[in-house]
């Protein structure tokens, strides 16, 4: 009989542990090396409970806030890691490749890769797909003396990304929906700055060769 409470405890703990593992920030353990090289590090972590709390402040009667509330109520977490470096070359391409390597699994697809020759600013956006649904997103924004990683966890439509643009360090984007599986994401910066080049790999070319 004494085993029943223990079994009940295990049954209660296991789903919680599984949920905790599922909502683990993608970049956990990946950024320690960069942090050692950075002159300043800023981490913002909003897990599900924090997002749920923040969502309460959004007014459902307001059209824009209602949309944002709908998006954030489904999210499992938003994590932002930002690194500032004293001078160019303090972080290497190898450091970045180690981060990118974690996004090479079959579930991950790089949708956007914007490169600016003029100011050295690059933005890469990766989506995590499970079945037909997008279940996560990672933005890697690099400049010669700064790096920013944004990880949004939870079901998110590429069109929702446009609504989140300009917040949480996510670049402003324009999304056009062209058919069932042909979402395209365009950075407005491309239109403004002709020096920038952009790759838009689709589902047929998920990884992109220039990673």
């Amino acid at each position: 009989m004494r085993r029943i409470p223990i079994l009940a405890m295990i049954l209660a703990i296991v789903p919680a542990a599984v949920m905790a593992a599922r909502t683990q920030d993608w970049s956990s353990g990946l950024t320690a090396k960069l942090e050692a090289k950075a002159s300043k590090t800023v981490d913002v972590s909003l897990d599900q409970s924090m997002l749920k709390f923040a969502c309460q402040f959004l007014d459902p009667k307001d059209q824009d806030q209602a949309k944002a509330k709908k998006i954030c109520s489904n999210m499992q977490g938003i994590y932002v890691h930002s690194f500032e470096f004293e001078k160019e070359g303090d972080y290497s391409e190898q450091d970045l490749n180690e981060v990118r390597a974690s996004l090479k699994g079959p579930a991950w697809t790089r949708i956007v890769n914007v490169k600016s020759k003029k100011d050295g600013e690059n933005v890469e956006v990766y989506f995590k797909k499970e079945g037909e649904k997008f279940t996560g997103l990672v933005v890697i924004a690099t400049q010669p003396t700064s790096l920013t990683f944004v990880n949004i966890m939870g079901p998110i439509d590429p069109e929702d990304l446009a609504k989140l643009g300009g917040q949480f360090g996510i670049p402003e984007m324009e999304v056009t929906h062209d058919g069932k599986d042909k979402d395209k994401t365009k950075d407005k910066a491309k239109e403004k700055d002709k020096d920038k080049t952009q790759d838009e790999p689709n589902d047929d070319d998920p990884k992109g060769d220039d990673l």
């Binding site: 942090e35 950075a38 002159s39 300043k40 590090t41 800023v42 981490d43 913002v44 972590s45 909003l46 897990d47 409970s49 924090m50 749920k52 709390f53 309460q56 402040f57 007014d59």
Partner: protein
């Protein structure tokens, strides 16, 4: 059970959340004191100042607690990572690290933890900078924050209307 016994139980039950809030704040203060082998500075009239803030009805906040440390010992036997782990461990599982700002080496750093439930959020802010540290705990009430966000200049009149 006698009426007196029930009254005592009620008082204890009502006091427990207050002690819990105090305990978390004190545990962070103790972690810093132990890590740097120091004691927090007694700020003159701090109690009176917090009472005035409470009486003035600072919008959306309550339960303000402040501890200030001066002349922190440089020879503390731990890295900032170790110290962060000690502070996190002293707070317990309900507290989530929300913001962390760190500078290289032993430069200034800030930790902000939050503990949110359905209608309020407690925040613990630990800031360390060149031999000084400050710990602040504050409770944000969701209803007051919402009022303040939607109409920052009219909170007081709304409160009166609500009454």
């Amino acid at each position: 059970m006698s009426r007196r016994g029930i009254e005592i139980l009620l008082v204890i039950a009502l006091a427990v959340p207050c002690f819990a809030g105090d305990r978390e704040f004190k545990s962070v203060v103790s972690a810093i004191e132990a890590n740097y082998n120091t004691k927090h500075v007694r700020v003159p009239l701090l109690g009176f100042a917090t009472f005035c803030l409470h009486a003035a009805g600072t919008p959306g906040t309550s339960g303000l607690k402040i501890a200030v440390f001066d002349h922190l010992n440089d020879s503390a036997d731990s890295t900032p990572y170790d110290f962060e782990r000690k502070v996190t461990a002293s707070l317990g599982g309900n507290w989530r690290p929300v913001v962390r700002v760190r500078s290289h080496g032993n430069g200034p750093f800030t930790l902000i933890f939050a503990n949110a439930d359905e209608n309020k959020m407690k925040m613990m802010i630990v800031e360390m900078q060149s031999h000084q540290a400050t710990v602040v705990q504050v409770t944000l009430k969701e209803s007051d924050i919402r009022k303040w966000i939607h109409d920052p200049g009219n909170l007081e009149s709304k409160d009166k209307d609500d009454e």
